[in-house]
Symmetry: C2
Subunit: 141 residues, 2 copies
């Protein structure tokens, strides 16, 4: 019985994340962005210029994923990549245009997230976070 509960849980997780991503993409399309691109912009806004490695480690994705997304973002004028003191690494920063648009996009995203979480109370959101953190945790998170 627990096998089925667990299976159902993972199925549900998959579905929700797809729904959320889809909704985010439609909201962001008004601003010429995709959800993964937005997550990088949000990260850069919060921490300031950072290396690609810092980005993919923070977002918990692999390096090639970030390389690809950043090259699209650079092409679309959201970010610039500069070579740092260590010539291997590249420092990523937001363009002026990106900084200007940030507030508006952030507002739209926050609104969409709020709507999607509207059925949950603040306590439930925290509990959901707590339970998710206990799921599929190998060690350091």
């Amino acid at each position: 019985m627990t096998d089925n509960e667990t299976r159902e849980l993972f199925h549900l997780l998959n579905q929700r994340v797809r729904m959320i991503t889809k909704e985010m993409n439609t909201v962001l399309s008004d601003h010429g962005l995709y959800h993964s691109q937005w997550s990088i912009i949000f990260c850069l806004n919060q921490f300031g210029p950072m290396t690609q490695t810092a980005v993919w480690k923070y977002l918990n994705v692999e390096a090639p994923t970030v390389t690809r997304t950043l090259s699209r973002m650079e092409k679309n004028g959201w970010t610039i990549r500069k070579h740092g003191a260590d010539k291997r690494e590249r420092l990523i920063e937001l363009t002026e245009a990106a900084k200007e648009k940030f507030t508006a996009v952030n507002k739209a995203v926050a609104q969409a997230e709020k709507e999607m979480a509207q059925l949950l109370s603040s306590e439930e959101i925290q509990q959901l976070q707590h339970l998710l953190r206990k799921l599929a945790t190998t060690e350091g998170e």
Copy 2:
């Protein structure tokens, strides 16, 4: 403050699902499968032969996604597509080879899921399901 909690929640959700999918893919790679292919096999095993539309509606994905995955699965000998009475639709069923391998793969998947959920009690799993169902729910389901 709730804005940030919500944002953190969605971030966490994304990460967990990626970790889970990644782990599933490594487990399934021993059997020559990917997680999406497995979810179709599981579905067909449970419900018997069904149309593609029934599959994508059940899995909550778009039709082209299923078309693509099924054509790979057919090429690899997991499924066959037959034309039904209604000549537009295609009935999908598992091959004999797929049926034979099902038990072994199912066991491996259940074991992996169990490990990933090991930190959660049965009650917590149910609660997690409950909270996820309340998230991003537009209406039906």
